[in-house]
Amino acid sequence: MSYWRPLIQLTLARFREQLRQPEVLFWVFGFPLLLAVALGLAFRNRPPDVVRVAVEDVAGGGADSLARALGEGRGLRAVVLPPAEAARRLRQGSVALVVVPGTPIVYRFDSTRTESRIARLVADDALQRALGRRDARAVVDRTEMARGARYIDFLIPGLLGLNLMGTGMWGMGYAVVDARKRRLMKRLMASPMRRSQYLLSFIVARLVMLGPETVVLIGFGMLAFGVPMRGSVLDFAGLVVLGAVCFAGLGLLTASRARTTETANGLMNLVMLPMWILSGVFFSSANFPAAMQPLIQALPLTALNDALRAVMLDGARLGAVAVPAAICAGWGLVSFAVALRIFRWS
């Protein structure tokens, strides 16, 4: 008995529906690329800015000589200002540090700003040298910009994970709810088509589209920005497939009972938005407080992003990312199992 003929026809139908809608093509291919370009440019690595310092012009003098000494420091620019003006510029951020001459010299700055802390160190070093401090040991600086440690390297695998989540959930979830709403699902149930064929067609279509999606995004990253692929391509591909199937399951679960597309939209956003923010797509999830970390690490997108980054940037083998891969797989399996149990078939 031909099980495959309906499956092939259903899968073809899925392809046609997707490819004949230009909006879908934009969201799947265009959007991640645009994000990569925009964010990659905005956060590109740049040589360190010049540190700006103000010296308060107080009665008793000494400001000029201090300013001169500071000017000797590398990457430092000092300007003498009246106190009120110096304070205003410090507040605005146009100077990172205010030096008040006297005994002792006073440094005024915002200790929570990295820029100010650096300014204080560099300024102090310059002043102390001018006043006679000598290094105990000769040192030499060797600067290099490591590939794989830039923001764009961090971003690309994160965007891939985000894309997998988005296309998985919308592609599977929304389409199913739409079919249910239009009574298309009921019409299909009235035919000899089997439920497994219906669901499999979505997954097969998803997996086939996965190839171009991944190649376009990763290829773009590698060619345009020189993002490295240190790990095995096969391992990476395996993770991509795992992520796609996991989110297809999650999408199916969200869509399992919704009758209207409004409900489906709401549920999908509810599920995806926390992961947009928490799962380390645009910035490291380690930025969040320690108390939140167990929750964050348990999220499927966090696990996927961590695994993708480890393989792509650190060259890790699959064994090394077994834990995040298992988290992903677990979410996928449970989602499918529950979805099939509670699915509304018309």
Binding site: M1, R5, P6, I8, Q9, L10, L12, A13, R16, E17, R20, Q21, R182, R183, L184, K186, R187, M189, A190, S191, P192, M193, S346
Partner: protein
Amino acid sequence: MSASAAPAIRCSGLFKRYKDVVAVAGLDLEIRAGECFGLLGPNGAGKTTTVEMLEGLVPRDAGTIELLGLRWEGHERELRQCLGVALQETKLADRLTVAEVIRLFRSFYRSGRTVDDVLAVVELGEKRDAWVERLSGGQRQRLAIACALVGDPEILFLDEPTTGLDPQSRRQLWEIVASFKRGGGTVVLTTHYMEEAERLCDRVAVMDHGRVIAQGSPRELIASLGAEEVVEFALSDGAEPPPEAALAALPGVRAARRDGPRFTLTVAEVHRAVPTLLAELQRRGVELTELVTHHATLEDLFLSLTGRHLRDG
């Protein structure tokens, strides 16, 4: 084409409740092979629920259903190969072409007709490569029927197939159904258009509030009115309307019903009843603004049974 001994569809005691509304309140039906059987009734009568239970799409609360001698339980896969279904208000995939949709449905059946065959039957050949979203309402309905026919079914279920269509599209659809019947298939049709029931159906079950209130061929049903002609008239404003009993007592008049300013009389012979009526109205000094007569229809039957119109529900 010969009617086989066993009925194509048999159901008894069919019952379905949704929360506190009883949609189908105990239905018994027997549909013969090769006939076109209609379920006629206003919106909310329970026609769609009944037919969806027969199609095995909606679980029933009570009752038994047998199609082609088989029950749904345990024979679903077999039965689905023999049925063709067109549901109410189904929107098929917008951006597939007509041929692609039909091919998709054809793939579900072990045996059936070719896409081109079916396109010819529903007269959509020239729209073969058009996207579904570009089709008109009538064309979409023909596509839905094409998908139901492509598996070469023994039983065709059509739920309100011509609702919202213009008269020409409606007639096209009727011809498609008629040709399917000529091929020996059984048709189960739901509708609230009495003309459709009269034209297409060999037998009709009139439904209201989840029950069958009358059943038989259209001719038998109309004959059950006792009289086969209808006279309708309206009086001018301010006229003193005569009581219904007085009108019903006129010779040749079987029944009289009043609905605001309009009166409906069921009469045996128009040429005797009308002069009598006019004389009576003149005697009472009442003026007519309108007078029409027509053959009794199933609409009139429904009106006489329930006091309501098929369209109003």
